[in-house]
């Protein structure tokens, strides 16, 4: 703020000096020019009167010729000073307005307002760099969960969009280049409340710069970075970026999982995607011949993920490519039937339209479905504005990079346990296990969004539990799931994993005894999450849930009960004395 004042004053130096000089000359003129008083005797204005007269004349108020009527000489000087003062005022006010409208000055003011706003956030927040398609998805989902966000973007239009987008609460935004450490600093990188940095710009170099700056300035802060090339991924990993999300690689793995083990894929989908797919959509007939149109970043990632799976691939691309052995290649546009025929589309089980042009991708799918209606279709959507067309095309899977990144980031932010759970499932469990799990999830959530969350049993996260445990009570896992509103019912949720002393147990039994330091991952409806927070943090709700009748009510109720009990004891004591006699 001080800086703004200094800038303003420095810009106003010339106008202020002009006003001072014009006033000084005017006042001096009135003092020097001889006049007459009401009796006609010679009289001179004092400085007091002259300053009074110039003050009201300069501001065009005009009380008249005070204190005595002017002589012609004085009137002539008044003429000069009227124009002089009015012009100098207009000049300085104009200058001042110009300063306020100056782009640089406005930027400076916005910057200071932003810094103030960020400093005022007294709760944990994420620093999001880049408010494009990906960034806006992440921000809207984070704010929906009540998490604070600070946004930096290089384009003013996107920062303006922050105010027009329907976000749940106010998000401070700054238009600046986030790859500059100064900007990151102003956006609260070093604030004790900053809990993570999310570089989500569409420029890999910028993401790289942001990640390295935040890793150097605040090494402990987790960084979840978006990247679109293998080189950047390797670079980011080299200095310890916590999570690196390449939408093409992520989606290629996701797709490979869908084909290899459809139910594990569904578990993954339900846990990471808010709009999950139905149980019936698991694919059975997926092994065989697949056609991939477009051998760009996505095509390459797909080829890598499909390696080792019982699938043979044909790749179609406009440009001739040098592709490794055991993959056939057809040159030409996938939008034409000839090319598709050449790639043996009639025998194929699946088609992936993965070019970077939305219209072409849709055209490929339409043409191919005419040739082979049973085809399983996967289409890449590049622009989120094309949503209506893609949902009308009724393809089996739509790959939208921004959506993938946003879902991944959200599941990382919800709890790091989700990643561990998925890893355990992929390595130790089979598809049948996953099938039962999906059925259970479906019975809990139905078509609604399946949320997931985690608790650690400790004083900070679960104070009510912690207190009961120090009192020596034995607590089991099922107390998390009781509905405080009606104890016979269970909350629509169930435990997915219990992590104790670095060992993960999947789907723990409900009678498992709790120990301090346990980390428990739950999934269910988000409503259950809010109820569960009441159970673990509010002592009264907790006691109600475990059925401790003595502890019910507030402080007043307990005091009243204890007093009543004491009075009863006092009444009974004398009687017992008598009986002893």
């Amino acid at each position: 703020m001080n800086h703004i004042l200094f800038v303003l004053l420095r810009r106003l130096r010339t106008p202020l000096i002009t006003v001072i000089i014009v006033y000084a000359v005017s006042v001096l003129g009135f003092v020097i020019i001889p006049g007459v008083d009401d009796t006609g005797a010679p009289w001179r204005m004092s400085f007091f009167h002259a300053f009074y007269f110039v003050s009201f004349m300069g501001s065009t108020i005009g009380f008249g010729e005070i204190p005595y009527e002017f002589t012609d000489g004085q009137r002539m000087w008044t003429l000069v000073t009227i124009y002089g003062t009015v012009i100098s005022w207009l000049y300085s006010i104009g200058k001042m307005l110009a300063v306020f409208q100056d782009q640089a000055f406005i930027r400076l003011m916005n910057r200071f307002a932003f810094i103030r706003e960020v400093n005022r956030i007294g709760e944990p927040f994420y620093l999001v760099c880049g408010y494009g398609m990906t960034g806006s998805r992440v921000v809207s989902q984070l704010t929906r969960r009540g998490i604070h966000v600070v946004v930096v973007d290089i384009e003013q239009a996107r920062i303006d969009a922050l105010e027009t987008d329907s976000l749940e609460h106010n998000v401070p935004g700054l238009c600046a280049d986030a790859s500059e450490p100064d900007v990151l600093n102003d956006a609260g990188l070093k604030s004790p409340f900053c809990v993570g940095v999310l570089p989500l710009t569409d420029q890999d170099p910028a993401n790289l710069a942001i990640s390295i700056a935040s890793k150097l300035l605040v090494p402990k802060l987790p960084v979840i970075c978006r990247t679109e090339s293998d080189v950047t991924t390797a670079n980011l990993a080299s200095f310890g970026t916590d999570h690196i999300i390449d939408p093409f690689v992520t989606y290629a793995d996701y797709l490979a999982l869908a084909i290899h083990s459809p139910y594990k894929h569904l578990v993954y989908d339900w846990l990471t995607n808010p709009e999950h797919r139905s149980v019936a959509s698991a694919y059975q007939e997926t092994n065989g011949h697949w056609v991939i149109c477009g051998y760009g970043r996505f095509g390459k990632a797909l080829q890598r993920s499909f390696k080792g799976k019982p699938v043979n691939l044909t790749i179609i691309d406009i440009k001739p490519m040098d592709i490794s052995a055991n993959v056939s290649f057809v040159e030409g546009p996938g939008t034409e039937a000839d090319t598709l025929e050449e790639a043996n589309i009639r025998e194929a089980v699946g088609l992936i339209a993965g070019t970077d042009n939305d219209a072409n991708n849709l055209s490929i799918i339409m043409t191919a479905l005419e040739l082979n209606p049973k085809l399983l279709t996967v289409v890449r959507q590049n622009l989120s504005t094309n949503d209506p067309v893609f949902s009308a095309a009724k393809t089996d899977l739509v790959m939208e990079p921004s959506q993938i990144i946003a879902n991944n980031i959200l599941s990382l932010i919800k709890s790091t346990l989700i990643g561990e759970f998925l890893h355990e499932m992929m390595t130790h469990q089979d598809d049948v296990w996953a099938h039962t799990l999906v059925n259970r999830m479906s019975s809990v959530a139905g078509d609604a969004e399946l949320d997931s969350w985690a608790f650690t049993v400790n004083a900070a996260e679960t104070p009510a539990l912690e207190k009961a445990m120090t009192e020596g009570k034995t607590l089991t896992l099922n107390l998390f799931l009781k509905d405080p509103g009606g104890l016979r019912q269970n909350l629509p949720a169930f435990p997915l994993m219990l992590k104790r002393a670095q060992v993960c147990k999947l789907l723990p039994g409900e009678l498992t005894e709790l120990e301090e330091g346990d980390e428990i991952l739950f999934c269910g409806l988000s409503d259950a999450y809010y109820q569960m927070q009441w159970i673990v943090s509010n002592f009264n709700v907790f006691r109600h849930v475990i059925g401790d009748a003595d502890a019910l009510g507030g402080w007043l109720g307990r005091w009243y009960r204890s007093r009543k009990a004491k009075m009863q004891v006092e009444k009974t004591v004398p009687e017992s004395d008598y009986s002893e006699l």
């Binding site: 420095r10 001072i20 000089i21 000084a24 006042v27 001096l28 004092s46 400085f47 009167h49």
Partner: protein, 127 residues
């Protein structure tokens, strides 16, 4: 030679000299203190203040502060003079004149500080 520096130093020194000229003389004697001189001292002091705006160095900030002190003292002196000459029943008597001059003496001290700071800054410049 820097024209801006000349103007800057000119006004700071002029503020001091005019102020001194007004101050010197018998403290209670109105004949020794010219009203035009006080007027000139106020105007020059105001201009010197505005010239100091926007200098973000430490010495610049102190210069601005001393200048604001001088303004305050001189304006107070002018108000006392105006009150004595126009409003007070006894007119501009010896007591009123004495307080005007002593206020301007305070401004003089502030102006001397300004000039000393200016000299310090000048001496510290190395080529």
């Amino acid at each position: 030679m820097n024209r801006e520096k000349v103007v800057f130093a000119f006004f700071i020194v002029l503020a001091l000299t005019i102020n001194f000229g007004f101050f010197i003389g018998d403290i209670g004697n109105p004949d020794h203190h010219n009203v035009y001189e006080l007027f000139a001292a106020i105007v020059v002091s105001l201009i010197a203040t505005v010239l100091k705006f926007g200098d973000r160095t430490h010495i610049g900030a102190v210069l601005l502060a001393t200048s604001l002190v001088a303004d305050l003292q001189l304006v107070a002196a002018a108000v006392v003079w105006g009150y004595g000459a126009q409003i007070s029943a006894v007119g501009l008597d010896e007591a009123a004149m004495a307080s005007v001059v002593s206020l301007s003496a305070g401004a003089l001290l502030a102006n001397i500080t300004s000039v000393i700071l200016l000299m310090v800054e000048t001496i510290m410049i190395r080529r």
